[in-house]
């Protein structure tokens, strides 16, 4: 279901009053286990589901030839700025941490900058304890990792963050020209090929923050189900950090250009359906662009190994885990020695036997 213009009114910002328990007046936090806003004093759970949640998966049309009409707004919440990575996060309700969830650097209160209101979000389903276990297990299961890596990861703790993402739909009418090679030696031939194809990108997830890399996205977000989206409500953010959207739609599309180029080239290779394809050129006419500004839940764990920072990211939707890791040069050399011995042994036998 699509609609051509974003809603006029921005979703309401978080208010402290909305995060207080209607029973005892205590502070409430969103609890992934209860899937609701839970009072930290009396344990009362408020369901955040709303009748307009069914509209949360609505996409908005974008015409690149028309000026963008989306108004930039300032957040109602206080914004925290990280001097280390330049990240900007908001804490809904009480300040959760003095450290940046993106890089673990110190954050300070700063003047909020203009951003764009979130249209929808997927609330956290994975609990902190599960995320902690998954992140530790991921680090432990790395091949050729340094032996003392577990010691570096053990004290690290996960921090929950709603990271800004786009979903983009588009229709691409692609015309391409490429070459492929057949045969070998004197029979080696290079052939030219051209063709046309239509590609429909549906809900292409694009990080709207420089702090979330496409590699991390592809590690933790294997499937995206728009039915899980909920209308933005401050209550979902209570207990977590969040980053607002700061990119215009055209900036978002621009940031996805390299990934889209790679995907189109891969589809062209598939369309040609031959090996040894190279020198691909193409032209595409893009139409039917639709987008959503959404927040997706992630657990971030930072650790340092030999003074170099790394991070492990756990999906707040299903617990899928991916991250950055160091390698042990000695273990790599050990594996290399084993493989070298096997290949050299095979080669020695081949040569000694006089095989061609």
């Amino acid at each position: 279901m699509t609609q051509t213009a974003p809603p006029d009114a921005a979703p309401p910002g978080a208010t402290r009053r909305a995060l207080l328990c209607p029973g005892c007046g205590g502070q409430c936090m969103f609890d992934p286990a209860e899937r609701g806003l839970t009072c930290q004093s009396c344990g009362r759970v408020q369901d955040l589901a709303h009748e307009d949640d069914d509209d949360a998966h609505i996409e908005y049309g974008y015409d690149p030839t028309q000026p963008e009409e989306e108004p930039a707004t300032r957040p109602a919440e206080l914004e925290h700025h990280c001097a280390t990575c330049d990240g900007r996060v908001i804490f809904t309700g009480p300040q959760l941490s003095e450290n940046c969830p993106y890089c673990a650097g110190a954050v300070v209160l700063s003047q909020p900058v203009n951003g764009y209101d979130t249209m929808a979000l997927i609330p956290f389903s994975t609990q902190e304890k599960t995320a902690q276990i998954n992140a530790q297990a991921w680090a432990k299961s790395r091949l050729a990792a340094p032996g003392d890596l577990s010691k570096s990861v053990a004290p690290a703790r996960v921090a929950g963050l709603y990271a800004p993402f786009w979903t983009f739909d588009s229709k691409e009418a692609v015309s391409y020209w490429a070459k492929y090679t057949t045969g070998s030696g004197d029979n080696k031939r290079t052939h030219s090929v051209s063709g046309a194809m239509n590609i429909h990108f549906d809900d292409l997830l694009v990080p709207a923050s420089p702090h979330v890399t496409p590699l991390i996205r592809d590690g933790i977000l294997h499937e995206f189900n728009p039915d899980k989206l909920r209308r933005y409500r401050a209550g979902y953010l209570a207990g977590f950090a969040a980053e607002r959207h700061h990119m215009t739609i055209s900036e978002g599309l621009r940031s996805n250009r390299k990934d889209k180029d790679l995907l189109i080239r891969n589809r062209i290779k598939g369309d040609i359906n031959r090996s040894r394809v190279h020198s691909i050129r193409y032209r595409t006419d893009t139409s039917g662009i639709h987008y959503r500004r959404i927040l997706l839940p992630v657990w971030l764990m930072h650790y340092t190994y030999r003074d170099k920072p790394y991070k492990i990211v756990v999906s707040g939707i299903n617990g899928r885990t991916y991250g950055e890791r160091p390698f042990s040069s000695w273990k790599l050399a050990g594996y290399s020695a084993l493989l070298s011995a096997a290949v050299i042994g095979f080669g020695l036998v081949w040569g000694a036997a006089g095989w061609r």
């Binding site: 030696g185 090996s275 050399a333 290949v343 050299i344 095979f346 020695l348």
Partner: protein, 106 residues
């Protein structure tokens, strides 16, 4: 006295092993990255395609050490190094064709 000629193939094989172990650190790292990409990254995604790109370095490494080992094996069996190189020429040509095709598919 230590006979360099008769120990030549052994010394060469040992030198090749050490060289291959050192050079192989990068291809082994690539093997692990490709393995992790296949198991952990979304298939067909941009991150997946980037991570598996450059896999031909693994086969170039395997091919190069295999070819040199066949020369040493031939040399060890016949005692004729020049002849071993000459006999290895066809093998080298075929190997280069295969590696070129693999590199084009990378």
């Amino acid at each position: 006295m230590f006979d360099v000629i008769s120990f030549g193939p052994f010394l060469s094989a040992a030198a090749l092993f050490l060289l291959s172990t050192g050079v192989g650190i990068l291809p082994v790292r690539k093997i692990i990255q490709v393995r992790e990409a296949k198991h952990e990254l979304k298939q067909g995604s941009a991150g997946f395609l980037r991570s598996i790109g450059g896999w031909s370095i693994i086969f170039i490494w395997f091919g190069a050490i295999w070819f040199l080992a066949t020369i040493i094996g031939d040399w060890g069996a016949t005692g004729d190094l020049a002849g071993a190189w000459a006999r290895g020429e066809i093998r080298l040509r075929i190997l280069l064709e295969i590696l070129a095709a693999l590199a084009e598919s990378d």
